[in-house]
């Protein structure tokens, strides 16, 4: 089915909205009635047609507007996109991976013609038609990672693997859940995860690091992560906290259904072929509590998850202030019945 791209905003008047189809394909992150940190990795294999997992790199109705929002962020703060000098091979790997996957999954939207190093890329939704020489950055308007991630939803980190750990050495990060590439760039895996509560004590990061360092070419993996955001704002960065932090105080029992959004991140991990680096796309999906309430299983489950979640995690994820309001909103949907495992809407 052809995707009808929305013309919507993620700031000011916040006209972002999900269609009913978009709600049903939402990657709902709560598979059971409680939540605790886990590595929860699975192979990134194609999912059901129509789901967010159908294609390795998902494109949805928000694509054009998300890319417009990214351009605004980059214009105000170019440091959201950075790459250390040794990451150029990984940048080209990233460009190749995103172009080939999109052209394969969405042939009516994206076309890639390759004749040796001469590449011709057509991006219909964004009106881009460029010919360039693969490997020669002077033939592109930006460096390869910036060029292609201005055309791809979600944030992207490229981590180098050396000295038995991973290093945050490149990224395009404009729609992040309160972390900063400019702060983290050049850090290793344990350094950039230092602020996360509880997970270190659980040994999560030791195991996750070992797992990620063994991700192999041809075998990408994925996991879901989540947080909550007031208003459908993509750019919830520390750099702009003064713009979105105060929003947390505007939530009331009357407006919470439209204001409070679950923000699910579909994170995937890909071994890159030339550089042996890992590409880490962090694709975020926003959904309002009102929209969640249209799927009874989700509203019921979310009530149980938010009830049982430890305070430190609620604090870290930034919603402890509005937790009770959210529980009050969701409580009527929880009639105590047993829910099936898994995030499917049913």
């Amino acid at each position: 089915m052809a995707i009808i791209f929305h013309d919507e905003t993620y700031r000011d008047d916040f006209s972002f909205h999900n269609s009913p189809e978009s709600i049903r394909r939402y990657p709902f992150p709560f598979h059971e009635d409680s939540y605790m940190y886990a590595i929860n990795m699975e192979n990134h294999l194609p999912g059901k047609p129509g789901s967010s997992y159908e294609h390795p790199i998902d494109v949805d109705e928000h694509y054009v507007s998300e890319m417009r929002d990214r351009a605004i962020v980059l214009n105000e703060d170019p440091k959201r996109c950075q790459a250390l000098p040794h990451m150029m091979a990984a940048q080209w790997d990233t460009l190749e991976l995103l172009m080939t996957n999109k052209a394969r999954s969405y042939p009516d939207l994206f076309t890639l013609e390759r004749n040796g190093d001469q590449w011709h890329w057509i991006n219909q939704p964004l009106g881009i038609d460029d010919t360039f020489v693969f490997g020669d950055q002077s033939t592109l308007p930006y460096e390869p990672m910036e060029y292609i991630t201005r055309q791809a939803q979600g944030d992207f980190c490229i981590v180098d693997q050396r000295n038995d750990t991973l290093w945050m050495d490149a990224g395009m990060v404009t729609c992040q859940a309160d972390w900063s590439l400019d702060f983290d760039i050049g850090m290793n895996f344990m350094e950039w995860h230092a602020p996360v509560p509880m997970a270190h004590e659980l040994g999560i990061f030791d195991r996750a690091l070992k797992f990620l360092m063994n991700v192999q070419q041809g075998r990408p993996v994925r996991r879901l992560n989540w947080t909550m955001t007031v208003n459908p704002r993509l750019d919830t960065s520390p750099e702009n906290y003064h713009k979105w932090g105060p929003d947390k105080t505007t939530v009331t029992a009357q407006n919470i259904g439209s204001k409070l959004h679950l923000r699910c991140e579909l994170q995937s991990f890909w071994r890159l072929p030339r550089s042996n680096a890992l590409l880490f796309p962090i694709r975020q999906y926003l959904i309002s509590l009102n929209d969640i309430a249209t799927i009874p299983k989700w509203a019921c489950r979310m009530h149980r998850v938010l009830t049982t979640i430890p305070d430190s995690i609620a604090e870290y994820k930034g919603f402890s202030r509005n937790r009770q309001l959210a529980l009050d909103f969701l409580a009527p949907f929880d009639d105590g019945r047993e829910l099936t495992l898994g995030g499917e809407p049913e």
Binding site: H86, M87, D93, E96, D160, Q161, R162, N163, D164, D169, N214, Q216, Q217, G218, R219, L272, P273, R274, S275, N276, A277
Partner: protein, 319 residues
Amino acid sequence: MIHPEIIVRVTDIAVVAESVKQFTFERVDGGSMPVFAPGAHIVVSMDDQGKLRRNPYSLMSSPSDTTSYQISVLRVVESRGGSAFMHEHVDVGDTMTISHPIDLFPLHATAKRHVLIAGGIGITPFLPMMEVLNESGQVFELHYSMRSRRRGAFLSELERRYGSRVSAEVDDEGGRLDTRKLLINQPLGTHIYVCAPLPMIDLVFGVARELGWAEENLHREVFLAPPAGSPFYTNLAKSGTTVYVAEHQSLLESIEAAGIDVPYLCRGGACGQCETTVIDFDGQLMHHDIFLTDDEKVSGTKIMPCVSRFVGASLTVEL
């Protein structure tokens, strides 16, 4: 499937040195080979009269050439089957199965200088490495030890291409790599890469450590051949079955033959991927890997089924 594979046809076989054959693989479906990072290997599956063999071989072709892959195989005198099979039973036109590239021997992206040390057939991963280093203008040198020039695969080609950056140490000409001299004056930021038989790796790393090199700057690739030994039985607790490990078979191979998937990457005792918990045993674990620490080996709680064996009455592992 935990190990997606590529079906290939052997399109060329060439003798490139004494006892060394070079094989060229192309995809049967006509598609492109995945690009790979220099230092990567593939695992080649062989159907040896109904017995499945899987051996790792470094990729030696150009990383950006997606039309074919090349590997070189040394015919090992006491081959347990793999190299003998490749030399004697594989012909041009044959169909084989290979894994996607796996890179356990990558170049260090922030190194200022790369010192490559090859012993014999250990030269293969350095071919794509040198190509990439040369193209990107990085500083490198190769020290290539061999028994004789007849056995020194690709030496003349490398000398022609890289000139004084290549030096050969030939045993039967009295040549010998002076490791101490090589390592004592390297500038900070130098990384060394050794692909050679284990004793040579131990020697180079031993000297480097003595001279105070940081572990992060030492890189090695070695694929230990699973040693033969007396046959033994192993109980697989989770699968509820028992496998028989023949004299020239590895424990990993016998488990795979029983239809049980075990994660692996190097199949040579180095990467740790197939680490398996030992639940109970009455006898002696014969550890042949270089992954477990000495303490872990003594504890009798872990085994690397790709290379290690067992002698005794009974062994039960958590698979």
